[in-house]
Symmetry: C3
Subunit: 343 residues, 3 copies
């Protein structure tokens, strides 16, 4: 008689894929990174951790049911948009943004369907971008997140909450001075905001989760958060928005994407990534102001927009060395393969 | 002496193409379906029937003048967006949405040009989507409709009317209870709203027109309307909007598109289509709320968005069997061809 | 001893590319056209001329640093979006739109980065459109312009100015009668508005600059401006907006693009271009009204939208003879090559 070996059990595979899915929010195809990120969420609020798991399971399971490509499933690529859409729907319908509220049954059904829909959106956006060798990034989440957030404001069965969280620089006071904690909290919270965690310690924990898989990614994420925060300060962004990490989270993601993940890490791509982080910080303010009249949060739209505009035309610029999404692993590996290929 | 055989006369071909164009709004490449739909419009208001004919002629004739592909012309594919844009421009500039008003000369010229422009938009969106084997659906109408409706609000020579029709769930009272007629009227009007007919009997007549060509399509259209209405009721949509069929028309179109027209009709695609109908109902509310500040109606944007997002990535999901638009006829034929191919 | 021949010096090449970049705003790959346009700007305000040079240098230099294709650089294609974005950012942040204000240091840095970003946007939009043989037109400018204008409204370090310039037909009085000067000033300013010059003499000077390289282009630009202005008058557009050239500048660009530059100049494409100019005039009003709640100007979005919708599907219409962007020179040459090919 032969025992079922645990690691071969489908359930264990599924847990592995889901943890990688959580890691993929910050480009880390690593279940341990996913686990540490969950711990960072629990540090801030166990509700968010549970919702994150719900979202990643719904979207990954949908991909299994629709018989999606195994390779992409195994890399967690069908999970990260579902995780984010769950977090966003709870964050912006909770009375207290920071801690989150336990959603109603109607809301849970709604979140499950939204997360499942991101799986279809990912396949569709992926198909559109395939000829250009550019990844969908978090666009499925942004699109589905916006669409499902609008409806929430209307349906009786879902309590929309007071949208207590300011979502645009205009909604912060201009007169508060910058202090030391503005800086270290703002930079940490920039990383936290990627997962809607308004908690700077959670942010630094997430940075550690990234570093477990790739030090270059962690360094670029930190650098992006610093650049985004610095640009906001130089251009007079309000202290509250800087402290809340709002100017930094898109910059952090942009810096990681351009600095090693989708471009081989070189001095040139480092400068390119810093330029992208500067633009992403300005454009967070832009998109926030654009969305204010309809009360919608920016989500990670600025990161997607800037990164797409800086990657889609990569073939035109000989100064850059693209890494096709299907071949991208970690910045360290991407660079080693490129150098090996060169030498 | 030889008589001109009527069926060969170019004028008769043109009438045939135009009637098919009206049928193509609901995916029916059948002149009889087009004729019964016209009758359903006359039942509600002869003005709408005339405008529908004006729109379909303008866009079809433009395609003839520009020497478009004969096959597409013959299938009525250059007509349906023109018909819809004509109906929309009259519906949203009439004092009485239900009956419509006779447009001014300036407005007639405007409608003719808008309908002609949908022909160019169809070719363009078709070119963009061609590599993905997904149809433009009613996107040319939605895009041109929005663009031309905005301008209407400004030009002196065109009377914009009071936009008396509520276009968003927010504009209906939340306190009216659901009664029996909410259901049978709401479901019928869902089909009617596809053609801007605020009349539940016209809706059921259109369903018959669909059934003349494809029973699966008629069944899926009805199922979609029921699902859309039911979801709205469960999630507390206002009674007035449910009765007006506003939650159901995008769901009806989505269910038809996914349940047999562009995916082979199977148990799997049936479930996929129901899921799509649920999403389309929620997202109607979303887009309506998004558009409220600028006073613009949703049109069929939700149907297009949901259907595109569920079809563009079809290649990634082995559980679905796509039907390329160029090969799609009726759900019955699409299924028969697939089964024949399998057997 | 051998002298450095002036024309071979890299600096001279760069000046040549930059002047062509200014000419490319109106499709003229000719340094002399660029120079005369600069003179037209100086006629109105030396500030705009300097900003135009700053923008074109920033975006062209970015392309050089990123090692972009030499052929495109030489044709000035990396310059025109940078020039426009510089002009737009100054125009809409100046207290006096007509004369412009000298920007602050923070604003200069901002303009340089925005112009540099148009280079990446051009490569990206170009990559997306390449399979369809359609040019990015001024879309990089429109997109980057909008994104950077929104943020301007917020940052403390940049003075947003009062946006004193009306940007939508709604903001003009409806009661002012049309007089003779409405016509000749409105038509001239339509050409001037392409470069944000609220000056009809500058407009006619720019028309001369175009005519130095292509008489057909100059004629089509003038015709487009006349058509746009006429349509506005027929449909009751406010006198102030007509006089300011707001109804005409998108029509002028559309008529040039469709009448000879991207379609071989024939009687058919002439009629097609006039139809496009009519649509562009109506849709300027549409987009202006759409953008009013967020206080954003239309820029040349209507031109891009109409021209794309009329060109992307060009393969479907046998009545049109497309000129692929990479082969397009002047309407005269495009037509001569086609006729030579035919004969």
């Amino acid at each position: 008689m032969k025992l079922n070996h645990f690691p071969d059990h489908p359930l264990f595979s599924f847990v592995d894929w889901s943890l990688r899915g959580i890691g993929q929010v910050v480009f880390q195809n690593n279940p341990l990174s996913g686990l540490v990120i969950l711990a960072a969420l629990v540090w801030n609020s166990w509700i968010y951790a549970v919702i994150c798991i719900l979202g990643v399971i719904s979207s990954t399971l949908t991909a299994v049911i629709l018989r999606a490509d195994r390779g992409m499933l195994r890399d967690g690529l069908y999970g990260f948009n579902g995780a984010l859409v769950g977090l966003a729907l709870v964050a912006f319908t909770s009375e207290d943004f920071r801690a989150g509220s336990i959603p109603s049954i109607a809301m849970v059904v709604y979140i499950i369907c939204a997360a499942a829909f991101t799986t279809m959106a990912l396949a569709s956006i992926g198909a559109l971008l395939a000829p250009h060798k550019v990844a969908p990034l978090t666009m499925p989440f942004v699109l589905v997140g916006w669409l499902f957030l609008f409806a929430v404001l209307k349906f009786d069965a879902i309590d929309a909450g007071p949208m207590a969280k300011p979502i645009s620089p205009e909604q912060f006071s201009d007169t508060v001075p910058y202090v030391l904690s503005t800086w270290y909290e703002g930079i940490g919270t920039s990383i936290g905001q990627i997962f809607f965690q308004d908690n700077w310690i959670s942010g630094y924990l997430i940075l550690i989760a990234i570093g477990l898989n790739s030090r270059i990614c962690a360094a670029m994420g930190l650098l992006g958060a610093i650049v985004g925060t610095l640009v906001a300060a130089l251009y007079g962004g309000p202290e509250g928005a800087v402290r809340d990490g709002l100017f930094g989270y898109n910059s952090a993601l942009t810096a990681m994407a351009l600095g090693g993940v989708f471009l081989v890490f070189t001095w040139r791509s480092l400068l390119y990534a810093i330029f992208g982080a500067v633009i992403a910080s300005w454009l967070w303010a832009s998109v926030a102001i654009f969305l204010t009249p309809i009360g919608m949060p920016v989500l990670t739209s600025t990161f997607v927009l800037v990164t797409w505009l800086m990657l889609l035309g990569q073939g035109a610029f000989k100064a850059l060395v693209p890494v096709p999404p299907a071949e991208s692993t970690t910045p360290e590996d991407n660079r080693a393969r490129y150098l090996g290929h060169q030498g």
